[in-house]
Structures are given as structure tokens and as C-alpha cells.
Symmetry: D2
Subunit: 146 residues, 4 copies
């Protein structure tokens, strides 16, 4: 894992540590650079569904969070994922999940990013999900009137 001598990475890790849900799942931010983010999540029994695969919701969480970090690296203020789409491409069976996201288009208040989620089994990475979404600076994604 990258050592947190990188100030941006250290700051990103600090934010992740403030997300109770990420702490519950055990996610670790391993890369955080302009337009890029990587989050790792060791697989354990609590993250699975009834067939023994990692639950799709875990993969969606990882994609959502990696997209937000990647997009947030190029935006200022409070950042949220406004929307995303995910294709599950393979049952996630293995020891570790790695989500890698990168920005494809960034504006002042919004960014579009993509994320590949890999499952590592026996040291081999295989794609298990592919996502794409939009990250927006505050206000809230759909700024409801009320």
C-alpha cells in the first residue's frame, strides 16, 4: 500500500476515516491523485450474499466511493456522487476488491468519471464490475426545493 507521505492521500484517508460506513466495511484509500482514486477492500464473510459472492451492493458502494474521490480531486467544496451506473461482469470471489476510478471530463462544478472494480483471487486481478457516474459539488445532487 502506498505510504501516506503524500499530503493529498493522507487528507483523503482522513476523510474516509470519517465515513462510518466505509469504516464498517473496512475500505482503504490507496491512491488519491488529480483525477484518480483507488480504494481497496479486503473481502470477508460479512460482505457476501447467499451464494458466497461479494454482494453487489458492496461493489456499488466501492464504485460510488471511488468515483466520488476521483471526481472530488478536481472539484472544490462538498462533493457528492449525483448518479452512477454499474455493470456487474463477474461474480466477485477472492480475497480483495480494488476499485480504480478516473475522471474523463471535469468542469467547475461537475465531473464525469469511470471506475473499474477488480476482484483479486490467488493474486490475480479480474474485472468484476464497471461503473460510470457524475460527481457534483454542493449543493445536493438534485437540490430539491423542499
Amino acid at each position: 500500500m502506498t505510504e501516506p507521505v503524500d499530503p493529498a492521500l493522507a487528507r483523503g484517508q482522513s476523510v474516509l476515516a470519517q465515513q462510518p460506513f466505509s469504516v464498517l466495511l473496512g475500505a482503504e484509500l490507496s491512491v488519491f491523485a488529480p483525477g484518480q482514486a483507488e480504494i481497496r477492500l479486503p473481502i470477508r464473510q460479512e460482505l457476501r450474499q447467499q451464494h458466497g459472492f461479494v454482494h453487489g451492493g458492496v461493489l456499488a458502494y466501492l464504485a460510488d466511493n471511488a468515483l466520488t474521490y476521483a471526481g472530488g480531486s478536481s472539484l472544490s467544496g462538498q462533493i457528492v456522487t449525483a448518479e452512477m451506473k454499474i455493470n456487474y461482469t463477474r461474480p466477485a470471489i477472492g480475497e480483495l476488491l480494488i476499485a480504480r476510478a478516473s475522471v474523463v471530463s471535469a468542469g467547475r462544478t461537475q465531473a464525469v468519471a469511470r471506475c473499474d472494480v477488480f476482484v483479486v483471487a490467488g493474486g490475480v486481478e479480474k474485472l468484476c464490475a464497471a461503473a460510470q457516474g457524475k460527481i457534483a459539488a454542493s449543493p445536493a445532487p438534485n437540490d430539491p426545493k423542499e
Copy 2:
């Protein structure tokens, strides 16, 4: 909550109880009928992100699971969510999440469904996410060759 005298609902609840991730989060299947499913999730601190809202990954999990149940009600065999898209429409602040999914098109091996996720605050339901996705019977969503 609906009483599990309904055999289909009881069977669905039994499957949910076999999903370690759903147990970790505390999800409850409250409706399971042909083409319909409702999953409830009490909000607690562990499900939040750093701003105090429920983490988007939790909403994505709920949508994914409700879509799978709704689609699975009209398909046979092992069921997976092949893909989905989610728009976050409002920060989820409140006591309870309710995800309601319904099938819009069903075939022999696939179904397309939609899901609305509501946050309940002070007894009032408000939409916080809207999703759409495809549910597929086995084999795995993208049946990788290897």
C-alpha cells in the same frame, strides 16, 4: 411490518437472512409479491458518511437488492442484478430507508425493474434515490468464458 404468514414473503425473508451483508446492514424484506419488492433499513450511525447523510453506497445496496427481489419474483433459478443505474435525488437524513421496486418488463431469463428509495424523517417519506436495472437468471451476468 407485514406479518410473514405470506409463504412467498417468508421464503424471501429466509433468503435475505442468508445474505451476510444484508444482515450486517440490518435490512428487512417487507413486501415480496409478483413483480414487487420492498426492503426497509433502519438508519444508524454506521451507515452514514462524513456529512451525516446515509452513504450513497447504502442507497445503492438497497436499490440493487430490491431490484433483484422484484425481478427474481418473476424469474426462476439463481438470480443476479446484471446492471443498474441510480440517481441520488436528496441527502438521506432520517430514521428509516424504504426501497420499493417493481418490474416494468419481464422475459424468461431477464427482467427490467425500477426502484424508488425513500428516506423517512419524522414520519414523512421523501424520495432520496431513483434506480433502474436489469435482473438476470443464471448464469452469471456476463458469463465470462474463463
Copy 3:
């Protein structure tokens, strides 16, 4: 078809008539009310692909445009579809396409809407595509810096 005595509908039809692509395809705005829009498109040979079905791109155009109208009914200023997702549920074979869109969440500058696209064959409507997307008021969807 609804008679254009409705000022909002007449205004919407006037905008559609200013879209050269909509004129090329032959689209007609048949409903335009707060949070709602319906666009009709008679099927002709030029809209098909090699198997005789309407080309998926035509269905995507219809969904995109109906979503924009539905969302635009609750937003002010220049309106664009920021993003959308479409599931094709049935080969579109028939005489007429009808896209019906409705807003599920509206804010000041953005709206999330859904759209069902039906194909009419022998007078019977059948769903051939289901879409969901976000509509945004100006500036451009991703407001690129350059």
C-alpha cells in the same frame, strides 16, 4: 392528437419544430404539462436497422427528448439532458412509437425523470424501452472549463 389550444403545448411544439433533427425524424409533441411530456414518432423504413426493427438510436433519441421536455417543464432557462440510461426491452416493430416521460424529482436547476417508450402494432401498445435520466438547466451539462 391533442389539439394545440393549450398554450404550453403550442410553445413546446414550436420548440420541437426548431430542432432540425426532430423534424428529420418526424417527431410530434403530443403532451406537454408540468412534469409530463409525450412525443410520438410514426415508424417508417428510414428509422430501421438491418433486422427491420426500429434502430435503438431512434428509441434513445425519443427517450432523450421526452425526458428533456418533461424535465424542462419544471425548470427555467436553457435545458439539456445531462445524462440518461436506457434499457431496450423488446424489438420495436409496428406503426408508431410513443415516449411518455414524467419527472420523479425536481429541484431549481435539475430534474430526474423517467420515460417509457412504447411501440404500437395493430393498435396495441407494448413497452419497447425504459429510460431514466437527469435534465439540467444551463450551463452545459458538464460546464467544461475550456
Copy 4:
């Protein structure tokens, strides 16, 4: 443009020529290789909307078709785009559109692919849309029972 001495490309171009809608729009298949496809579309007035940008439906058509070609290169039989998602990232103003799609995951009967759509203005390519979708071999995407 690539010269059609490549048999696969020539075959792909022949299929495109059988799509009346692609002929109506003026699309040209410029790359067709395993897991890859590129489609070009000269911009003309008929493809625009009321603000002078290329209509989003045209970009969606291009993405849909490029995804289908890319996915179809690794599948056999009749191929359809089952679903896709598109983010519009920039108003498309220029002389030419180029859609480049590549497969990220392929199975026996399905493939997931991504597509970038560029607008060329004054010889400079800029991303105007990013898409992701699933391509399926026959039967129809949702194989309706009726």
C-alpha cells in the same frame, strides 16, 4: 478513412449500409477490430437541435451503434444493445463526430463496452459524451414471453 481492404471492416461497413437509419444520418464505420469499433458522422444542419448543437439523440445513436459493433466483434449471431448509459459532457459544436467503443468484458452471449464520443472542431477532438452499455447476442434483449 481506413481503406476497406480489411475483410472484417468491409463486412461491418456492409452491415451499416443495411441500416436505413445509419444511412439517413450518414454514419461511416471507420474501425472494426476485435473488441473495437469507431464510427464517424459528419455534422450537418439536420442533426442539430434548436441551440445549434448536435442533438443529444444523435450522440446517443452513435454511442449505441459503436457499442454494438464493438461488442458484436466478440459475439456471434444477431447482436443487439441491451442497455446503455450516456453522459453528455459538452455541447457538440463542430464538423465531425467520432465515436470510439471498446469492450471491457466479454462472455459467450454478452459483452460490456464503453464508448467515447468526440466532436471535432477546427481539427481538434474534444469529448462530448461518454457511454457504457451491454451488448447481447440473440434472442431479443429482454426476450419477452409474448
